[in-house]
């Protein structure tokens, strides 16, 4: 599709005008209407398909195809900016090998089947043994996709064997929130990045992983005159140097796992130097020992006695001066500190503890609930918050912050879903690690995977994906992946702006979009697939798919209460907005824990709204910037200032937990002397299934590699590009060395990205997990590293 010169000129002008406008909007609130661009494209809003930042994107459509993307100047998150993944956002839809037809594998061979046959087969298999079925979902599910899968499993099958890949990314953040605050999700928001003077990243490479948030802070800092700029600090607390380090005022290298000790050291200093916020602690904090018993401040001080800067320097490798500097920053009442973290703290065998401990630093210093002072858990996936955590697509959860073990929570759902009282299963189901291990062992015999790629992304693949090929595995995806390789049934799915959807980002922002192009071939929405299988089971008489009146449990109804035949594709796709109907059904469940999401029709007008969204006295829907803060959060009792109103003890206090340092389960030794860390790279989203599709972009970052420290490389006589063998107790992989790559590990460390489906680093990684969150640790295990 060559374009002529005059068209090219219009496009060139549009590129210029869009960037010019974005330059203006960073410092002002004026927005340039995208429709004023000369490229003549129809532009439509959508949240970006990729990370948990949740940038607003405008998608440009021409003749039924997405042909352009731009940052949405009206989106408060990014104000017209994109990151480098913007190059992929549109083109990810158009790889040559998009899945377009349902397929079934028999005797190792794939054949095309009709949707009807595929639905029938799946329904039969699940009905044969519903208690041996597991649903594995995703933080990239839309809210309604997750809600329908949850209803299918928990209500339809009376089973709690549903869990998302967010177990592998955010579970420790969730348990950290719940144990500290009594409820999930951050108090603060991105506006705190605009108000702070200090950012500390805790094992987080935000320059590459949340680039637009990095830009949001850095652009502000760099625009300041010298003397003011020097007062704004970015401190990179990390186990390897990354692109983030280049922008840092201080880099503090620590031994893996010693983040636990460093956080305790900060708290030790706050008490020792008497620089903690007494008033805040008196009013808003409760102290607990690790076993859950209440303790006094004196007992807590005694607990912290060993975490002196000298002792922690010895353990962590961070020099005493730097530890004291951190203590001084937190002890300075005028400093506004935002702590940021993501996988470095969550993919951690003591992930819950380290989340608690960073909250401790902010709670003791009173740096929470004030503009610019907040501990902020960054979310990795675009809807781990909106779907997995808020809808509750977890083995122990129900929508709206509820849990299966609470009778009143189950009653809410049974009533809402018109089920017989007592119908829902009160026993938590299999979490992700347990689910895959059950599948391997044959305790589960069938699984449905939607929007994720566990055969590449689960840790210790040899163990956790063993025998998957012998089970009945349904995979809904958009491209062939390592997981479609083990599938019995492959269902081609619609992607991003090919369907309607709503997602929720890191800062509680629920964001809606309409599908604007058709999915290719016979690909269909995941939500429709779930409805279709559920209805087929209902037609076949499966009792679980009936509500207490014998009607279809997953019925979709119009405004008059009449059932819509949403399980028929032509009805779903062309005649009725199922997303709206099911979102509104879900919305009613969000009030109990004050996670009120905005009405769908309001979200249509906005670039997302942060919950709780509540109507004011004039009937206007108002979002909440900061939870638990008087004047911002409508649920805070006047006069309290800050009220942690979901505290488990009912005392409105957050908990400071006395969590100790503990060695990780596997550390380097004589046999396996190196630390292995794994993670993402800027160019590729996760397992590369979407971003690896455009061949030429793929060429820019073709294959996985191992980052080595230059001194280590020299000692092993390894030059750039030489092959290196990495072996753990679980598996081996051979990779080319990057010695002067984007990141530099410390001596005795290596880093390998996980995007490459031909180089499965997860055959090497450890599958030990935090006992509270069940989230595994991809960031540290012990390996041999040898030149081949």
């Amino acid at each position: 599709m060559a374009i002529d010169t005059s068209r090219r000129e219009f496009i060139r002008q549009s590129a210029h005008l869009a960037a010019l406008a974005a330059l203006g909007t960073v410092f002002s609130s004026k927005a340039q209407a995208a429709s004023a661009l000369p490229d003549g494209l129809a532009w439509h809003k959508a949240p970006c398909r990729f990370c948990g930042t949740g940038c607003g994107v405008l998608v440009g459509v021409l003749e039924g195809r997405v042909v352009a993307v731009q940052g949405d100047p009206e989106a408060p998150v990014n104000r017209g900016l994109l990151c480098a993944k913007g190059y992929h956002a549109g083109s990810a839809l158009y790889g040559n090998d998009r899945l377009t037809t349902p397929m079934v594998r028999t005797n190792g061979k794939l054949r095309e089947v009709s949707w009807d046959d595929a639905i029938d087969l799946i329904a039969d298999k699940i009905m044969a043994a519903p208690e041996r079925f597991g649903f594995y979902g995703s933080g990239q599910w839309t809210i309604v996709e997750g809600y329908l899968a949850l209803k299918f499993t928990k209500a339809g099958l009376r089973s709690n064997h549903i869990d998302p890949n967010a177990r592998l990314c955010m579970a420790s953040a969730v348990t950290g929130f719940v144990t500290t605050f009594g409820v999930d999700e951050p108090s603060g928001c991105y506006d705190d990045l605009d108000a702070c003077d200090t950012i500390i990243t805790w094992g987080n490479n935000w320059a590459e992983m949340h680039p637009v948030l990095f830009s949001r802070f850095m652009d502000r800092k760099n625009a300041l005159p010298d003397h003011q700029r020097k007062k704004m600090l970015y401190i990179d607390l990390a186990t390897r140097q990354t692109r983030s380090t280049l922008a840092a005022d201080q880099y503090m290298a620590f031994v893996p796992q010693t983040d636990l000790a460093i956080a305790n050291c900060i708290c030790h200093q706050l008490l020792e130097n008497d620089t903690y916020d007494k008033d805040f602690v008196d009013k808003h904090v409760r102290l607990k020992a690790n076993d859950g018993s209440d303790i006094s401040l004196e007992e807590y001080r005694t607990f912290l006695a060993d975490y002196t800067p000298e002792a922690v320097a010895e353990l962590s490798g961070v020099p005493v001066e730097q530890l004291k500097y951190l203590g001084k920053l937190f002890g300075d009442p005028d400093r506004k500190i935002v702590s940021l973290w993501c996988m470095g703290m969550n993919q951690h065998t003591r992930g819950t503890w380290i989340n608690n401990l960073v909250y401790n630093c902010h709670l003791l210093s009173g740096k929470i609930g004030k503009p610019g002072s907040t501990p902020f858990s960054l979310t990795g996936q675009p809807s781990a918050c909106g779907t997995c955590r808020e809808v509750g697509t977890l083995a122990h959860a129900l929508p709206g912050g509820r849990v299966v073990t609470e009778e009143s929570h189950r009653e809410d759902c049974e009533t809402h879903w018109n089920m017989t009282p007592g119908a829902l299963n009160a026993t938590p189901g299999l979490h992700t690690m347990a689910m895959f291990q059950a599948l391997a062992a044959g305790e589960l015999t069938s699984m449905w995977v939607q929007v994720t790629n566990p055969a590449q992304t689960m840790p210790n693949l040899h163990r956790n994906l063993a025998n998957a090929k012998d089970r009945f595995v349904v995979v809904s995806d958009v491209y062939p992946t390592a997981t479609t390789e083990v599938a019995t049934v492959i269902l081609p799915s619609a992607m991003w702006v090919e369907k309607n959807g709503v997602v929720g980002n890191s800062e509680r922002r629920t964001h809606q979009w309409f599908g604007v192009v058709d999915p290719p071939g016979d690909a269909r929405d995941d939500a429709w697939q779930t409805l279709a299988v559920a209805h087929r089971m209902y037609e076949k008489g499966f009792a679980g798919m009936k509500d207490k009146d014998g009607n279809f449990l997953l019925a979709v109804r119009d405004a008059d209460g009449n059932e819509v035949e949403a399980w028929k594709w032509e009805v779903y796709n062309k005649t009725f907005n199922v997303d709206r109907a099911m979102f509104e059904e879900y919305r009613q469940l969000t009030f109990r824990k004050h996670k009120n999401v905005a009405p769908y029709d309001k979200l249509v007008e906005e670039r997302g709204m942060r919950w709780p969204v509540v109507q004011d006295a004039q009937g206007e829907w108002q979002e909440t910037k900061r939870r638990f803060v008087e004047g911002e959060d409508p649920y805070v009792k006047p006069g309290t200032g800050v009220q942690f109103y979901h505290a488990k003890a009912g005392d409105d206090r957050a908990i400071v937990w006395a969590r100790p340092y503990e060695d990780p389960p596997e550390m380097p030794d004589d046999d396996y002397p190196f630390w292995l860390c794994t993670g993402r790279v800027l160019e590729h989203w996760h397992s590369g299934t979407m971003t690896g599709r455009v061949k030429e972009l793929h060429q820019a970052m073709p294959r996985a590699y191992v980052e080595l420290n230059p001194s280590d490389a020299r000692a092993m006589d390894v030059a750039e590009g030489d092959l290196v063998k990495i072996r753990s107790r679980r598996g081996t992989i051979t990779l080319p060395a990057w010695v002067r790559g984007r990141g530099t590990p410390q001596r005795g460390h290596v880093f390998v990205p996980f995007f490459d489906e031909t180089k499965l680093i997860n055959e090497v990684t450890l599958d030990e997990y935090c006992p509270i969150s069940k989230q595994p640790d991809y960031k540290k295990c012990a390996v041999q590293v040898e030149k081949v």
């Binding site: 496009i11 590129a15 010019l20 330059l23 352009a68 900016l81 480098a84 830009s215 652009d219």
Partner: protein, 81 residues
């Protein structure tokens, strides 16, 4: 040939110098110079070349950050693995 619009952020007072240095980067055109930022349009021959232009800009002396704003790939055919 994809077309992209980017913002190049520079150290204050270095915008002009960076604008001159942009001439060394293939397929890059500076369309606006501000106090500490430039507007740049790239027209790479391929997606990879367009993307590479952003990387190259990032490496220029005086550049603090490069932000993608607009990306049009109207005339790029779909590619597979």
């Amino acid at each position: 040939m994809p077309v992209s619009g980017l913002i190049v952020r520079t150290r204050p007072s270095q915008a002009r110098a960076v604008a001159h240095a942009c001439a060394t980067v293939p397929s890059v055109e500076v369309t606006h110079v501000d106090a500490a930022a430039l507007v740049v349009v790239t027209q790479g021959n391929t997606e990879a070349a367009d993307r590479q232009a952003m990387e190259s800009l990032q490496k220029l002396a005086g550049v603090v950050a490069v932000e993608l704003i607009y990306h049009n790939f109207e005339d790029v055919q779909a590619h597979g693995h």
